[in-house]
């Protein structure tokens, strides 16, 4: 489809605004900086603990939230989405292009952050490398699921950023940790399950089964893209007289 390239290009330019990019770079640099400080102080903490607490619980959802809600949500908010919609193209191409940009940029920012943080805190021993690799892959897959979910949220509500933040901080941060059954509704838990399946288990944790984790991430991603496409197909402009 020859409209895919232009759609990706315009979304990418919209997402990579100077201030937003700077904010994201600062966010992903945070775990690396902490890893570096720990290393310089002579500490050798478990890489799994650092990657779990700093990257998977904090950096990954926040980066995906900002990028996922901005990819299409900012165009919906400022009205420029109309220029994409009044074209003879299937709505799924617009969603796929924006999802690719949101998850791609999330991966480009978070995966190197995970790798550097893992290497700095745990070194390059065989076990450490396995843990780092496991979390890098988990961040990649979790990032795709998170950004797709937040992209879909931005097509449903203009308050996607706030709702996404509540989901991340309240649901995933508190509820999913307290109530066993709700772990299946947590992208974070599924991401940690993937990391554990690939050898990145945090000591003392009880992650979700590998198969269940992969299925949750796949269902969230596909479901979110289907919902977003349906929402865009029946999109109605706001305002006007």
């Amino acid at each position: 489809m020859n409209v895919f390239g232009p759609l990706v290009s315009v979304t990418l330019r919209g997402v990579l605004g100077r201030r937003r990019l700077l904010l994201m770079l600062l966010l992903v640099a945070l775990p690396v900086a902490i890893g570096l400080l720990v290393r310089l102080a002579g500490g050798r903490p478990d890489a799994g603990v650092i990657l779990d607490n700093l990257v998977v619980r904090m950096v990954l959802p926040l980066v995906a939230l900002v990028l996922g809600t901005a990819a299409l949500g900012s165009e919906i908010d400022d009205g420029t989405v109309v220029y994409l919609l009044v074209k003879p193209i299937a709505r799924r191409w617009i969603i796929l292009a924006t999802a690719l940009v949101a998850s791609g940029v999330t991966a480009v920012l978070v995966v190197p952050s995970a790798v550097l943080t893992g290497l700095l805190t745990a070194g390059i021993g065989s076990a450490s490398l396995t843990t780092t690799f496991a979390f890098a892959v988990a961040c990649l897959l979790g990032g795709i699921a998170y950004s797709s979910a937040f992209l879909a949220l931005s097509t449903v509500t203009s308050r996607a950023l706030v709702i996404g933040l509540v989901y991340t901080l309240i649901w995933e941060g508190i509820v999913a940790g307290l109530l066993e059954g709700t772990r299946f509704l947590s992208i974070r838990q599924a991401t940690l399950g993937v990391a554990a399946a690939l050898g990145g288990k945090r000591p003392g944790s009880e992650p979700l089964e590998p198969a269940i984790s992969f299925v949750i991430l796949a269902v969230v991603t596909v479901g979110a893209l289907v919902i977003a496409t349906r929402q865009l197909a029946r999109f109605e402009v706001r305002g006007g007289d």
Binding site: V3, G17, G79, V86, P88, A90, A233, G240
Partner: protein, 316 residues
């Protein structure tokens, strides 16, 4: 071969745009109320005061709003949820926003690419030149003036050579020279067989450009058809003038004898005169006053806002 043979019948003419008893409401608020019309080639002005429902109508025609009742057809196809109609449509929305990081040329190019135009770069250059934006073509639209952004939006709407052009307040922010240029462009496109519908709340804009008009007020279609006949209706409607003179009572008596005057009332120290012929009254008044030896201190038309014109058309 019988007369029923389909090859013998003339295919029905499908209007470029057709609204059939279309309404649109938001909760309890009715934005568009039972509007029907059909448009073919030519320039049509969609005239109405702010808040009349012009943008809602254009959004319905552009498939960006679902009709609450009725049907909107573009070349015989439903406008709602059918992206294929956009091959025929060029839309200039009222909202000013254009991707601020794109230059005018990049914006036109993006539109050409998304429309699947065969040579998008050449089409974008042509569209930019058509709207007289070549000098600023490679500057980000975020640095453009309102009029330049408006022209960039028009370039984006023209780039795939649509047969139906929907423009929401297209002359907003343009200087008089750009306005004239754009009017010439739209006229030549209409002469080439395009269907052009533009909204405006400025009567003079519509007067200069439109062959026919649709007048909307409070969501209803108040009048539709040839511009001149509707203009005549507007001009011939009852007008009221407030007059202050050296002797209001005697002037009222003198004026009421004229057939163009159908009412005169003295209230709050002012004379209020009603006439059915605006032009005739402006000639009669000084003549009658002079003949009666009365000095005119003040003459002011009342209820002459567009709002009152539209209200009058709706109430007819």
């Amino acid at each position: 071969m019988t007369i029923d043979d389909p090859r013998m019948t003339t295919p029905p003419v499908v209007p470029a745009l057709q609204l059939d008893h279309v309404s649109r409401w938001y909760g309890n608020v009715v934005a568009v109320n039972d509007v029907s019309f059909a448009l073919g080639p030519g320039v049509t002005g969609l005239l109405g005061p702010n808040g009349a429902g012009k943008s809602t109508l254009l959004h319905l025609m552009a498939g960006l709003l679902r009709p609450s009742a009725g049907q909107v057809l573009v070349r015989g196809r439903s406008a709602w949820r059918d992206p294929a109609i956009y091959a025929d449509i060029g839309l200039v929305p009222e909202k000013e926003a254009v991707h601020p990081y794109l230059s005018g040329y990049e914006f036109a190019l993006l539109n050409a690419q998304l429309h699947g135009v065969a040579e998008p770069a050449a089409a974008a250059v042509r569209a930019i030149e058509t709207v007289d934006l070549a000098d600023a073509a490679h500057r980000p639209t975020g640095t453009y003036s309102k009029g330049m952004r408006q022209r960039a939006k028009i370039a984006g709407a023209l780039v795939h050579d649509p047969t139906v052009l929907l423009l929401d307040e297209p002359f907003n922010g343009m200087d008089p020279r750009q306005r004239l240029h754009m009017m010439d462009l739209l006229r030549s496109m209409a002469a080439a067989g395009r269907t052009i519908l533009f909204s405006s709340h400025i009567l003079e804009e519509v007067e200069r450009l439109a062959d026919s008009i649709l007048v909307v007020h409070a969501g209803r279609l108040a009048a539709a058809g040839d511009y001149r006949s509707i203009r005549r209706l507007m001009t011939d409607r009852p007008h009221t003038f407030t007059v202050r003179s050296s002797d209001d009572r005697r002037l009222a008596t003198a004026l009421i004898a004229d057939p163009a005057v159908f009412g005169a009332e003295l209230a709050d120290g002012r004379l209020s005169v009603s006439t059915s012929d605006y032009a005739a009254f402006t000639h009669i008044l000084p003549r009658v006053a002079a003949a009666s030896g009365i000095s005119l201190h003040e003459v002011a038309p009342t209820n002459d806002s567009l709002e009152s014109v539209f209200s009058y058309l709706v109430s007819r």
